[in-house]
Amino acid sequence: MSDGDLIEEREPARSPAARSRWRRGTWQEPSARTPKASAQRRPGARIPLALLVPAAIGIAFLVLPMVGLLIRAPWSELLVRLAEPEVGQALRLSLITATLATLASMVLGIPIAWVLARSAIRGRSILRALVTVPLVLPPVVGGVALFLVLGRRGIVGAWLYDTFGFSLPFTTAAVVIAETFVAMPFLVISVEGALRAADARFEDAAATLGANGWSTFRRVTLPLVAPGIAAGAVLCWARALGEFGATITFAGNFPGTTQTMPLAVYLALQNDPEAAIVLSLVLLAVSLATLTLLRERWLSRT
């Protein structure tokens, strides 16, 4: 941005006539340039200082910690660190549990989304609120709640233990359950949005072609909302991967069975900060890869 632009930007505040001239000027100006250049330039020329400064500070605030992570990383011994069995173990456990939690969320969450978007049952808005509670609930609270229901003395857990002699807490299954509890709402919301945006008349067309409800869902509805399901699954997976509070409360912190990456990072920070940095880098890399996967969808929404 040149100085001339800045002066032009301040001038219109003085008189309405000048403002309209200025508007005309900036509006017409881009047509003389390539569309791409104007699209990049026009918004930049308009940002008032009162917004620009906090925005810049905010961006720095978001980006600097990640830069710090990169700067402080023990690059020389990175590969050695990554090869440590504890790292591999935690990473493997994280990837497996997050994937299982995503699968569970899809099996349970897509039907929930369908009920919320398509059915005419009473109390749908209450149902939606209930389903999305885990989004705003502190994960630790979620962990405590899960413990109260599924713990050995819990409402369902006691029955499980008496009947099958099986106790959920502090097992890998508990990790998957905790992650599913926290991450499934992301998938439900994303799929419900996709279902609402999809034209339900395609389902009418399928019905006139002899497809019953389930067949229509499988052959028409699912393919139509597949992009929404994919986006929801990626969000859900990323959320499950980063899950900490509910996991440590309900599943504990046992290396090999329940110690996922975020738990390992937290533990390592106390006795081996460098290891914590390495683990964090791995998580950062996975998150960025997820973001790249989602990028196109996010861009197409704006």
Partner: protein, 351 residues
């Protein structure tokens, strides 16, 4: 093939629909009416997508709907094919898989369903587009695929919802002729919904005019066009429709003005005047026409190669003039003119 007999009522919000329709096999019934008259609702009931509140829908002996007897055959179990307004071809399937969809629903093995779908693509002249996705088809092509998809399941009843509305004027002519040809080959009963009288006249064996949820007139296209029974139909086809009382070769209108007719008429009658029958003069003419009225040009719009003028005066009329005549007379909205109609050009029939 069997006939459709449907007499049912639907109450839905502001719509109060009550119709009685029968269609013989091989015949095409066009439901003509303005937007919101309930045309699409009729189709949704026939397709099984909406339950009627009362009445009975049957294909010969097969009762599809009879609320009083608790009977409702869901859409997917009906021997009915439907072409939707904007075709609704499944965007994720190729054209051949779209057409095979209905057969696959009825558990026809994939290979056989595909083979049958290919034959349908050939019949509608799109064999080269088997692998194309619907998004890459033109409007006319999509319409033909939608028709093939609806017919591939050999339905007993074919429903078409505004099959030509989504097309531009030029494609429309071609597709309409094509559609007429395919409907002619179809052996079952067909119900077409349209708001376009030209489409209706071109496709229909019978026309039923639907207004505010009621069939206000039905009959052959020429009958409906020649002797409309409501102002809506008359205006649709460009006729001027006037109600009056027959007194021999004079019909006294409700406004008090008389219209001379050739056929003697008595009692409550309609008088219908075609726009081509109205002649316009700048000054009061003297001669044979017995109907001569002063009038004022209320509006003028291009209509094909002619200019259609709405005339205000003792008898409201619509007149078609050639563009040349319109220009030579120096007409504009507001111009004062004289309108004449020969008595034998006035259609008169009982109300």
């Amino acid at each position: 093939m069997v006939s459709l007999a449907a007499a049912f009522a639907v109450q839905r919000g502001s719509l109060d629909l009550d119709v009685d329709l029968t269609v013989e096999p091989g015949r095409v019934l066009v439901l003509l009416g303005p937007n919101g008259a309930g045309k699409s609702t009729v189709l949704r009931v026939l397709a099984g997508l909406l339950r009627p509140d009362a009445g009975r829908v049957a294909l010969a002996d097969l009762v599809l709907d009879e609320p009083a007897a608790g009977r409702h055959v869901p859409a997917y179990d009906r021997p009915v094919g439907m072409v939707f307004q904007d075709y609704l071809l499944f965007p994720h399937l190729s054209t051949v898989d779209n057409i095979a969809f209905g057969l696959r629903s009825r558990r026809v093995p994939r290979a056989r369903a595909r083979a049958s779908a290919y034959k349908w693509l050939e019949r509608v002249g799109l064999a080269d587009y088997a692998k194309a996705k619907p998004g890459s088809l033109s409007g006319g092509q999509a319409q033909r695929v939608a028709l093939a998809r609806a017919l591939a399941g050999s339905p007993q009843l074919l429903l078409l919802d505004e099959p030509l509305a989504a097309l531009d004027a030029r494609t429309k002519l071609e597709v309409r002729a094509d559609l007429r040809h395919h409907l002619g080959e179809y052996a079952g009963a067909t119900v077409v919904v349209s708001h376009d009288p030209i489409d209706a006249m071109a496709l229909a064996d019978e026309v039923a005019v639907l207004e505010d949820g009621r069939v206000v007139q039905s009959g052959s296209p020429s009958e409906v066009a020649r002797r409309p029974r409501t102002d809506y139909v008359a205006r649709l086809i460009g006729l001027t429709l006037l109600a009056g009382t027959g007194e021999g070769t004079q019909v006294r209108l409700e406004s008090g003005t008389s219209v001379a007719v050739a056929e003697p008429a008595h009692g409550s009658v309609y008088v219908a005047i075609r726009p081509e029958a109205v002649a316009i003069y700048p000054t009061e003419p003297h001669g044979s026409p017995r109907n001569v009225w002063p009038a004022r040009v209320a509006s003028a719009t291009p209509h094909g190669s002619a200019v259609r003028c709405d005339l205000a005066g003792p008898v409201p009329l619509t007149a078609d003039l050639t563009a040349t005549a319109f220009a030579e007379l120096g007409l504009a909205p507001g111009s004062a003119v004289w309108a004449t109609v020969k008595a034998h050009e006035v259609e008169v029939y009982a109300r």
